[in-house]
């Protein structure tokens, strides 16, 4: 496939934007109910990025703070993707407060919080995505990518297994709290065609 084909046309971008909008709303609703807060919904970013660009996007999302991240693979109908949830480390203080954790927030507590929120955000988002696209996903077990690390360590820029990724990016913030996390759904080259095909049914 030539590189030129891997560009989103306006119509498909709109579809992804809408589908993401709905799925992220469902995920936000789950999180809001869990934490009893109001989640501020941003405009989702839909892009096809190269490895280097992805790293740059991640870097700007983290505001150069140290981050902690959880990823989870999923697959269905020939579409394989990975969900990546990145927390700014400064968020954990408020998350702990909302989840009613008392005492010191050590790495173990932080891991607990990360996993809880990852399960909910990623799970609800994938449910929303699958529902709209009339498919279902198998989910792998979530993996802790790193705690307190530099974001550029998370994804290697010179990955040889993929050239381009479709990214659906949602930056969640929570009203009146210092909580900032970035949810990314990444689909590599070989899944984009298949996903485009499935998404284009929504245009009919």
């Amino acid at each position: 496939m030539s590189d030129n084909e891997l560009v989103l046309n306006e119509e498909l971008r709109d579809v992804y934007q809408e589908v993401t909008n709905v799925a992220m709303g469902q995920a936000a609703d789950s999180l809001a109910r869990l934490l009893d807060v109001f989640v501020v919904l941003p405009i989702p970013n839909v892009n096809i990025l190269e490895a280097g660009e992805l790293q740059m996007a991640l870097q700007s999302a983290s505001d150069n703070e140290s981050v902690s991240a959880v990823c989870q693979g999923f697959i269905g109908k020939g579409v394989a993707g990975e969900a990546l949830l990145i927390f700014n480390d400064s968020s954990f203080h408020d998350i702990a407060k909302l989840m009613k954790y008392e005492g010191e927030i050590d790495d173990a507590v932080q891991l607990e919080l990360e996993m809880d929120i990852a399960s909910i955000l990623i799970g609800a988002f994938l449910n929303g995505l699958a529902e709209q696209l009339d498919m279902s996903f198998s989910q792998g077990h979530p993996v802790v990518l790193g705690q307190h690390c530099d974001i550029s360590d998370l994804i290697s820029a010179n990955s040889t297994r993929w050239n381009k990724v479709l990214t659906l990016e949602i930056n969640y913030t929570i009203k009146d709290h210092n909580i900032n996390c970035d949810l990314l759904l990444l689909f590599s080259d070989d899944s984009i065609d298949r996903l485009n095909e499935i998404a284009s049914y929504l245009l009919e």
Partner: protein, 105 residues
């Protein structure tokens, strides 16, 4: 969204890419009924509702949003929206609401 509107409905349809464009369109008399999203660049849906109320603009607002948090629903109702439809929308749902408000028979 446009695809979900009733086919036989005799209306003129304008699209706005963000909240400010929507307000401009209403000022030009292009919006008796406004289907309003909440997450938008430039000016979001809440801002549009506030402006409509502040300027007492003649339009009926139906919010169409993926934000299904109870607080979002309450806020838009508080700001004067007639209805809240959660995405993804269906023709049936729109028909039901338009009928309920006597906009279509």
């Amino acid at each position: 969204m446009a695809r979900a509107l009733p086919k036989e409905w005799d209306i003129e349809l304008s699209f706005a890419g963000n909240g400010q464009e929507a307000l401009d369109a209403i000022h030009e008399g292009k919006g008796d009924i406004l289907f309003l999203d909440l997450t938008m660049p430039v000016l979001d849906g809440y801002g549009v509702l506030e402006a409509i109320r502040a300027q007492d603009l003649p339009t009926m607002v139906i919010v169409v949003s993926g934000d299904i948090q109870p607080e979002a629903r309450e806020r838009v109702r508080g700001l004067g929206a007639l209805e809240f439809i959660k995405k993804p929308i269906t023709t049936d749902k729109i028909n039901e609401i338009l009928t309920a408000y006597g906009i279509i028979a």
